[in-house]
């Protein structure tokens, strides 16, 4: 009894999330609704009535050839950074269906999400939620990951076009009922015993992104203070063949709420911050399916610096006295997060970053004598990179 209570405590967060959609009859594979077959993972009960709530986006559904098709789109909620940080390996979390919409004849759709169906733990402090749109016709289905706001920022939700294609075979889960798939040791076990679809993390990958450099002259010293609290939207990918091939499937958002100061040093250095990606596998009724999602998990707070050689010849130089010079940038225009999306070595494709890595960087130089501060592409106060010189 004691161990069961302890387990319930450990999985409390996930249980809360799943309870939000598990109050009625469990969803089974091969579900249908009044409109026909429903893809595995979509809760057919939600499709019984139109969704009224927060408008979260619009787009157009097409087939594999790019032609508009008539079908339906379901909206599933995916947890955000706060939840994912607490997610232990071996635990399946729910991806509740929180809304749906029929497409028009030209494939266009516009969807609401019912906020009461979204677990509170999935909503980030700024009101942003990660969603998965699953669109399907009678024969095909497709998926697109995106983020949208609840609350005051919901008016911004139409800024992004959520068009995607139903380019895969419709999977209602019939095969899952016929086949017993053996779990690997790393796969999450169905310990919650709730026969609905969800995802479990089966792998993590660290990706480093260079956010700045320091090139102090002689005994001068350089260092960096990094602080970020803004959102980063990074591409995601999915696989329906057991993880053999991945394709781009939209994007997901995480905050970059990390802050740290690199020690000052006379060395030439790259300053790097780490982002954790997660590989998630779908489970339905406790059994693993062949669907994987690869997406940004959260900034891991890691940072590092790597030595460099070969002093650059930058000529945008200004005279400066001995002392400490500090340059603060907050717009991120000089440094994008693109380097943090080079994951081809992991899933076969690189992902994109739809927004700059918005952050605050304080670049410091301590000059031991009168010298020069030189920018790489402009005067030092606004240059992308800066060195000291004589």
């Amino acid at each position: 009894m004691r161990s069961r209570r302890a387990r319930a405590g450990r999985f409390g967060v996930t249980l809360i999330a799943i309870a939000a959609i598990a109050g009625g009859a469990p969803l089974s594979a091969g579900a249908t609704s009044a409109g026909g077959a429903v893809p595995l993972g979509v809760d057919a009960r939600v499709l019984a009535a139109p969704t009224h709530g927060v408008h979260i986006g619009k787009g157009q559904l097409s087939d594999a050839a790019g032609r508009a098709v008539n079908g339906r789109v379901a909206i599933l909620a995916w947890p955000g950074e706060t939840f994912l940080r607490s997610l232990r390996d071996g635990v399946v979390f729910a991806t509740p269906t929180v809304g749906w919409a029929r497409t028009a004849a030209d494939g266009r759709w516009s969807a609401d999400a019912n906020p009461t169906l979204i677990p509170r733990e999935y909503v980030e402090p700024d009101g942003k939620v990660n969603f998965v749109a699953i669109g399907w016709t009678s024969m095909a289905q497709g998926r697109w990951d995106f983020s949208a706001w609840l609350g005051a920022n919901a008016s911004r939700n139409d800024a992004t076009d959520l068009s995607f294609s139903a380019n895969g075979k419709l999977d209602t889960g019939a095969a899952l009922l016929r086949t017993s798939v053996r779990s690997t040791q790393r796969d999450p076990s169905p310990e919650l015993g709730i026969p609905i679809c969800g995802y479990g993390r089966v792998g993590t990958y660290q990706v480093w992104s260079i956010v700045n450099e320091s090139w102090p002259y002689g005994s001068d010293k350089g260092w960096l203070h990094h602080e970020s609290s803004h959102s980063v939207t990074v591409g995601s990918a999915m696989s329906t063949d057991g993880g053999l091939h991945f394709s781009v499937s939209g994007s997901s958002t995480t905050t970059a709420g990390v802050s740290f100061t690199y020690a000052k040093s006379i060395a030439y250095r790259d300053f790097r911050v780490g982002m954790q990606y997660g590989k998630f596998r779908q489970y339905c009724g406790g059994q693993p399916t062949n669907t994987y999602s690869f997406r940004v998990d959260f900034p891991n707070g890691g940072y590092d610096d790597v030595g460099r050689s070969g002093v650059p010849n930058w000529t945008y130089c200004l005279t400066v006295s001995a002392g400490e010079w500090v340059r603060n940038r907050t717009d991120g225009s000089a440094w994008s997060f693109s380097a943090g999306t080079k994951v081809a070595g992991v899933i076969g494709i690189d992902l994109s970053s739809s927004t700059n890595y918005s952050t605050t960087l304080d670049l410091h130089y301590e000059l031991v004598a009168k010298g020069l501060v030189c920018g790489s592409n402009a005067v030092p106060s606004i240059a992308a990179k800066v060195k000291t010189s004589r």
Binding site: K221, W223, H225, T261, Y262, A263, K264, T315, Y316, C317, L318, T319, V320, S321, A322, G323, E324, W325, V326, R327, N328, R329, T330, D331, S333, H364, E366, V368, A369, K370, V373, N377, A378, V379, P380, S381, I382
Partner: protein, 202 residues
């Protein structure tokens, strides 16, 4: 003679700046804006800069700080009325002068972040700075390092061990018939106990 002219210009500018700011408050007719958000700018985008000179390394007792000024459009010049600190920290310093210069940068005639001494040595600032009140800024904001450049020069002198200095600058000016205050996030500091976050490092 040049040095004397700069000092006099600085003393006069401080008085004008105070008068302009006082009038602005009374009349409520001045628009205050950040960098890049009005006709006159410095970086012309978000961001900030700090320079804390270290008396223990330089041996100097006064310094000249340089701050770029530029206009969004050369069709809308800005007439500077005065310059004052947005705020100050510490009591180990005093302002000893203000000036403005406009020049064509080159390898041996470059803008400055700071140099030892006020007035600045001619090898670092070969120009004769002009008086602040009435100076017309016409140089457009550009990334081109060879583009004509307008620089505000501020002189601070160390008068005590505490150090300190200016936390930002307010540049009062008129453009297109309206009065503005450009708030520049640029700290002009002298190392000392008054600014413990500087000059020690992590």
């Amino acid at each position: 003679m040049i040095h004397r002219r700069i000092v006099l210009a600085g003393t006069g500018a401080a008085g004008v700046a105070a008068l302009v700011l006082a009038l602005s408050v009374v009349l409520g007719s001045t628009t205050r804006h950040g960098d890049g958000q009005g006709p006159l700018a410095s970086l012309n985008e978000s961001g900030s800069e700090s320079m804390a000179v270290d008396p223990t390394r330089t041996g100097a007792t006064s310094w000249t700080y340089g701050i770029r000024l530029c206009v969004q459009s050369s069709d809308v010049p800005a007439v500077v009325e005065g310059v004052a600190p947005t705020a100050t920290v510490g009591d180990g310093f005093r302002m000893v002068g203000l000036g403005l210069r406009e020049f064509d940068p080159s390898a041996d005639h470059a803008p400055i972040i700071s140099v030892d001494g006020y007035p600045p040595p001619r090898r670092d600032v070969p120009d004769t700075p002009a008086s602040v009140p009435g100076f017309v800024v016409r140089t457009p904001c550009a990334l081109d390092p060879t583009a004509r450049y307008t620089e505000l020069l501020v002189g601070l002198e160390r008068i005590g061990a505490a150090g300190g200095g200016w936390r930002g600058l307010d540049v009062t000016y008129t453009a297109d018939g309206r009065r503005y205050v450009l708030a520049i996030e640029h700290d002009l500091l002298i190392c000392g106990p008054a600014i413990p976050e500087f000059c020690h490092g992590p």
